[in-house]
Symmetry: C2
Subunit: 222 residues, 2 copies
């Protein structure tokens, strides 16, 4: 019985990693769509959302099954509940990628404009945050989660700078307003993804450290 | 033992309702700050965020304790996991209220400008969505949750209209760009709150209907 439960936990972990992969792929595709002004890449993001939603439901159901299967130990309970929370964050990373793809579609209909904001670099940073947050959870490394929190400050700063330069650009060249606004909103969407990575990291610290405290640090060195 | 567990479930429900009240209060305060250009009301939103975060942690811990206490029935399991998810959404409603208050602080430093967007009405709609989503959960009424999903479409439309008129305003009066942008971003924050209400409603349909199917409809008529 214990073995079947443990097997289920492994499966849950695997599914969550796969879910993380789908979320990262969604970010990549959205940014590729942005870089290449590519409506087909936008469509790939929209199509991918269905898979992400299905994966979310699967994980929730498996978590329920595991909780119903036997009386889990406190450390396993914390793990399962953390998966449920992180799962919801990953699903919303996918939603943000969809929002970006929608803005890109809008941009494609406007003439291309030079903007002084490096969206691909910002996207790379937030994708790394999602990756590391998930890694910190899977490996139970709270210090890696702390590093994610630090990165969030950097992303906030990039977004604030983008805000200033884009407002400036809109003032100087009103004809670029709509285009600049799309870029600004994409920067906001990326900031939201960073927030989800931060939520995951905070959950890791809370759930993992909690488990740590309750189990004398044997499970999760931090 | 069963009685203590049931008592714990009641406490969990109560705490979640209180959390919902805090989230709604945060929206109200943020909109009051907007309407009155009131920095003190902004500060009240910032202060309230601490209470919301503390309430979130409390609910998570109680959920863990309940799951650890005994082997819950499937219907109770679904209820507890739904609380954990809804709890996270309510916390983020509070985050959005903080974002609005930050934009209001920015607006206060600009001269007041007439904008053709009814933020208070939009805020009222999204606050109602949060309220109804929570009500649908507490009462186990999936049809009320469906109504919340319908309202989300209305909010999306209001936000899209706001987008168009504000871009137009920025083009015509570039000197109002920053102010208009603040309003636009507040409309986006409100839309995000509507998304959280939608998430809650979707969870209600998923968790409650699931419970319904598994228990022959006795617990949650829908």
């Amino acid at each position: 019985m214990r073995t079947r439960f443990q097997h289920g936990l492994d499966e849950l972990k695997e599914k969550l990693l796969r879910m993380g992969g789908l979320a990262e792929q969604a970010i990549e595709r959205a940014v590729e769509a942005y870089r290449k002004r590519d409506a087909k890449a936008c469509q790939a993001v929209f199509d991918g959302e269905r898979d992400i939603n299905a994966a979310e439901r699967e994980i929730d159901e498996l978590a329920l099954d595991l909780l119903a299967m036997q009386q889990p130990m406190a450390v396993d309970l914390r793990f399962i509940l953390a998966v449920v929370k992180i799962n919801a964050d990953l699903e919303r990373v996918g939603d943000q990628a969809v929002n970006i793809a929608q803005r890109v579609l809008d941009m494609i209909s406007s003439p291309e404009t030079e903007v002084p904001v490096d969206i691909p670099r910002m996207a790379e940073t937030v994708a790394t945050m999602v990756q590391r947050a998930l890694e910190s959870f899977i490996d139970g490394k709270a210090e890696l989660a702390e590093a994610v929190l630090q990165m969030d400050n950097i992303v906030d700063r990039i977004k604030d700078e983008a805000f200033v330069v884009l407002v400036d650009q809109m003032n100087k060249y009103p004809e670029t307003t709509r285009y600049s606004l799309d870029v600004l909103l994409i920067a906001r969407n990326l900031e939201r993804i960073a927030d989800h990575a931060t939520n995951i990291a905070e959950d890791v610290i809370f759930w993992v450290r909690g488990a740590d405290v309750r189990h004398g640090g044997a499970h999760y060195p931090s």
